[in-house]
Symmetry: C2
């Protein structure tokens, strides 16, 4: 990354991200950005992606990385029932990184910003021993429609959007030492890789779930079991999960033996799906399912029930119950 | 940092930061935070501190680091004439870091938050090969009082708060291989170290400068010469700096020979002072100087003039002029 100064980098970033966005009074390049306040509650979230922990530069394109870094933050706003508006992007890069890599990264950020109709209004760039992308996102949500993790009530159904496990399958492929090339090149292999590289944030789905009465909601970033455990803990309830009903990504079944994976295990324990997990009063499930299908082509699946007490219970096909262990990605335990 | 999980860390952070703050509907622990919108413009800024680039763990206490990480962001809001309100803190730490270190870091963050009356409402924690602290700050400013970098006009005076160079002097002491112990232990040595370790953000001063008609403003984070160059470039003007008028930190003169430093050089080129640099119509200088002294005990110094054209000119004691080179800390050029 020799041969350019911080001011030159900032100028390049401004060129890539230049856009007139309603509500932005002052964007990149000053001490801070200025945006118009809206009438709604302000949603604030932040997430960072760190090289060798969240991604490897050898297996991730800069464009995908920028895109994903923004989408994971959008997903957090979606999980509140909100709309993303403004992002701040702080980037740390080693000297060895080429300017073209940085430009591609910002192009990915710009594409995600455009996809989700938000503006990147500020941030920071500096040297770093390893690539670090820190994003803070400001969104908005109508006062009556904000959905937290803490409102689930016994009797509510547990629902989840889309399918689960594909991102974890893609990660398996991307980080495999030895590849089964036929499996990787197959339609299913590419589906899994894409799920990991370019996740989708369920913004419209989150707003529909909020309007239809979701009592609690979060996105599945660390794995269904661990994340449902968190939702239940915040709501001071327990939950059942009917294992045969968990919407496992179909591509996982096709590549089961080629990749040596257990599809249900990845669906329960694999992270980074960014689907929405919510509790919904039983009477609202049918209509909400229909609305998500009609409006977004997104499947909503009823996978279980909120119960009194605490802890998660897995229900097998034969109706037998056993504790569902909170598997998933814990950054510190490293399990 | 063995022996605790991400959920345990989040719980500990929530305990440290627990506080009821007006305007915060939902703080730490959910997918995102929810805060009340205000009537004013929203100020957004982000900055990250990266180990071995911005600090070294061997020479910085965790408490000071947390404190400083927040203050440098508050300074950016101050430089717009705004008030800080909400912060998002994302932390990356290596496995080798002890929980007590993290607790001390958050204690420093909490102390700075309390000092500047803002709330830490969210963020993220994860493993990282090196310590990374990324902060995004949301503030507010009345529509008519926001001051950008781009409004300086020929004839305006160039003013700066406080004194310059002390933080750079402190960094010299902190990173010296061989210490002159008498110099370090002296009152002046401790003044310099404190300036580097615990900077002050000029929030009230920024608001007063804005109200008294500052046409452009920024904080001095990379050094007076480089930062004034940026302000002038954004305003499409040039400026003079009367060198004998630059408010050099007095402690630098006392330790000149002991530390082998050139005080004026550090004042012009050293970063991290976080003083405010502004352009002010000539008629406003006297009153503003008086107000800053009366209200905050802060000195305001007239150091030069905004001129037509471009570039910076240094004026020596004898009135002779020469180009002022933009010295300072560029993260990429590494000068």
């Amino acid at each position: 990354m020799a041969g350019f100064t911080e001011d030159e980098l900032v100028a390049a970033v401004r060129t890539i991200l230049a856009e007139d966005v309603p509500g932005v009074r002052l964007g990149l390049g000053d001490d801070a950005a200025l945006v118009e306040p809206g009438p709604h509650l302000v949603v604030l979230t932040a997430d960072q992606l760190i090289e060798s922990v969240h991604f490897r530069r050898e297996t991730t394109s800069a464009h995908d990385l920028g895109y994903k870094a923004l989408v994971v933050n959008v997903s957090d706003v979606a999980a509140m029932g909100g709309s993303p508006r403004y992002a701040l992007v702080s980037l740390g890069v080693p000297k060895s990184v080429e300017m073209t890599w940085i430009v591609e990264l910002y192009a990915g950020l710009r594409d995600a910003a455009s996809e989700y109709a938000l503006a990147i209004v500020g941030g920071d760039t500096s040297l770093s021993p390893t690539v670090v992308i820190s994003i803070a996102l400001v969104g908005e949500v109508a006062h009556s429609l904000a959905v937290t993790r803490s409102g689930a009530r016994p009797g509510d159904r547990v629902v989840v959007t889309g399918t689960l496990g594909a991102a974890a399958g893609g990660l398996r492929i991307a980080s495999a030492q030895k590849h089964d090339l036929a499996a990787v090149a197959s339609k299913q292999g590419r589906t899994l890789l894409a799920a990991h590289a370019r996740p989708v944030a369920r913004v419209g789905e989150g707003q529909t779930l909020a309007r239809e009465g979701a009592t609690a909601m979060m996105d599945v970033s660390d794995g269904l079991a661990i994340d449902l455990g968190r939702l239940c803990r915040e709501s001071r309830v327990g939950a059942t999960v009917v294992l045969p009903n968990v919407p496992v990504s179909p591509a996982l079944f096709e590549l089961r033996s080629a990749l040596g994976i257990e599809p249900l295990e990845l669906a329960l324990g694999g992270g980074e799906d960014y689907e929405l997990l919510a509790s919904l009063p039983p009477r609202a499930v049918e209509l909400t399912t229909q609305l998500l299908k009609d409006r977004f082509g997104t499947k909503l699946t009823d996978i279980g029930e909120i119960r009194k007490g605490e802890g998660l219970v897995a229900i097998d096909a034969d109706g037998s119950e056993r504790p569902l262990e909170a598997q998933g990605w814990d950054h510190f335990a490293g399990t």
